[in-house]
């Protein structure tokens, strides 16, 4: 915001309150009410007016308060934000960031724990990313704001309280690059967002049992950095994807389909997905039996390790 006066923030309760998760805390004080806009309570309008602002040359960073509240803005995102660059033959840049705190794990009531990213990953014209570490959160939001395509920025809300070092010296990874978080040789374990922490824990546990798991943070959900994943799979021959959304037509489905196509002869076992179940997000007293756990990931790892062709 200091670098570019055209950057605006818009959303419900983001100004005076600093956002329900305090992500924008203090920004209205620093940048004023014209640049940190407390909006009326209407998600379609948050995104729809961001479109108009983009046409005028502004870059809006929209906050959707919770994942389950993004659907009122679905048409503006899918029919307008995603398509206006094309519809205008490139005259409009829909440069904007739509931040969505997503996934579960905070014991909230319904509509506050969902994984809507597959809907957007399927839509041409959008890019969908997710961070899993404080360092990525710091860099990726800035890279997203500078990017000329519209970006759906999925923030793993259960990790908002996570602490970690931000490396101000090393140049950050590319915004759409997957990153290997832990090297290994037996199984490639891929995830994004909040699932990364669970995946890394699973890898540690597996190491104790003598299995070497390579853990990849997809970071970019659309487009996928399939090269990094394929390179790992060429080495391990086994892949498991972890995600909180149901597995039908999911990001994991796409990853496994792409990898099967590229690495068919390297595969030692079919790729597996560890996902949420195909049910509406459950009451959160039982959400930990819905979200992928270390045990469920290890079960999948055992299955790919034990597969005999």
């Amino acid at each position: 915001m200091e670098k570019n006066p055209k950057v605006l923030l818009m959303g419900e309760d983001i100004g005076r309150l600093g956002g329900v998760f305090r992500i924008t805390d203090g920004l209205q004080k620093d940048f004023g009410e014209d640049r940190v806009i407390d909006s009326p309570l209407a998600e379609s309008a948050i995104v729809g007016t961001a479109v108009g602002l983009a046409i005028r040359g502004y870059r809006a960073v929209c906050e959707i308060q919770f994942d389950g509240f993004v659907y009122p803005a679905f048409d503006q995102i899918v029919s307008q934000v995603a398509k206006l660059h094309k519809r205008s033959d490139g005259a409009y840049n829909m440069a904007m960031v739509i931040r969505i705190p997503f996934q579960g794990g905070i014991g909230a009531i319904e509509h506050h724990s969902e994984s809507p990213e597959p809907y957007f990953a399927q839509t041409a014209g959008l890019r969908v990313i997710s961070c899993s570490t404080p360092n990525d959160a710091y860099w990726m939001i800035q890279q997203s704001i500078e990017h000329d395509d519209p970006i759906i920025f999925c923030e793993p809300k259960s990790r908002y309280w996570e602490k970690g070092e931000v490396d101000l010296e090393t140049p950050p990874s590319g915004l759409f690059d997957a990153v290997v978080r832990r090297e290994g040789t037996d199984v490639t374990l891929i995830g994004y967002g909040a699932s990364m922490k669970t995946a890394l824990r699973a890898a540690e546990t597996a190491a104790v049992e003598g299995m070497s798991i390579e853990v990849i943070d997809a970071r970019s959900i659309a487009p996928l950095d399939i090269e990094v994943m394929a390179k790992s799979l060429e080495k391990t021959g086994r892949v498991v994807v972890v995600q909180e959304s149901p597995h039908t037509a999911s990001v994991g489905s796409e990853i496994i389909s792409e990898l099967t196509q590229r690495c068919f002869y390297s595969l030692k076992a079919p790729g597996l997905r560890v996902s949420g179940y195909h049910v509406p997000y459950p009451p959160t007293r039982i959400e930990e039996d819905y979200r992928p756990t270390v045990d469920r990931i290890l079960d999948a790892v055992d299955r790919v390790m034990g597969f005999e062709s």
Binding site: L8, D34, S39, P40, A42, S44, A45, V47, G48, T49, A50, V51, G52, L53, A54, I55, R56, G57, Y58, A60, P72, D75, Q76, S79, Q80, K83, L84, H85, K86, R87, S88, D89, G90, A91, Y92, N93, M94, A95, A124, G125, R127, H147, D148, D149, P223, I226
Partner: protein, 355 residues
Amino acid sequence: MIDEELVQLLTPEGERIENSEYESTLNGDEIFGFYRDMVIIRRLCNESTSLQRQGQLALWAPIQGQEAAQIGAGRALDPMDFTFPTYREHGIAWCRGVPPENMLRLFRAVSNGGWDPQKYRHSVPSVVLGTQTLHAVGYAMGIQRDGAEEAAMAFFGDGASSQGDVLEAFVWAASFNAPVVFFCQNNQWGISTPSTVQSKIPLYHRAHGFGFPGVRVDGNDVLAVYEVTKRALDSARVGGGPTLIEAYTYRIGAHTTSDDPTRYRIDAEVEVWKHRDPVERVKALLVHEYKVKNVDFDDVAAEADVMALKLREDVLAMSRPDPITMFDDAYASPHPLIEEGRREMIELGISGGEL
């Protein structure tokens, strides 16, 4: 048709009416110019309908009956204002300077837009109804932040007035006092749905509930539409906030060339509205008051015919785009799936493009 609620400066017979709040500021040349605009746009519409019937357009959305609403509003705009249309705003596009052949690229199905919206300051058509009203409000918020004396204007119809986006746009425009004018052409029919189903009160009354002024103008009276729109735009540009204008008019033709209005409305109703024709009443005024001669009207008709002939030629010359152009401008920056698609299309020989 003298209605207390309706701002009207000209009767259907072309006689001037006193209005306590508005008076016409236009001279004879300007009125003749509006007449010319309306004749040309009607001719454009008729030619396009013919082109569709001849299989040269996929679809056409006729404008007939709404020429005064659009030319009055379109001519009230300043060059620096920015307009956000639906797919029926051919008259507005004309006033913004969009070449007629560009208006038909969408209907020829060779483009999803058709013109450079930044160049003409006229956005590409919104087909999902009402979405553009939010774009106009956002654009207006940008104008505010730039400190510019400009306005945004959103066009929609009585059908779209039921869309949540339109009502959200009203809320936002009021909350931020945005320099935007909402121009609703109430043409009485949303395909087969009468406007009485969309609203139980006159549409312009809605504005009051949202906290800004609303006005109903005779949409077939180009003089009145011009004055009402100009005042609303002037107010918006200097911090007066939004206005809702309901241009009360009628869609003489079908919703689109795919529609059959005889299934849902009676001929008598159409006949009543044909007597309120927006072009004829201005012509009557020009004859009575400004002594415009037949030869001048004939010149306009001839000019419209020339435009139509060129339009036909231009449309017929619009050939099927190279399929590989579907990848152009899908994203603003390089994307692996775009490259993948492009490569496949070339490898399969679908396009003669180069790898």
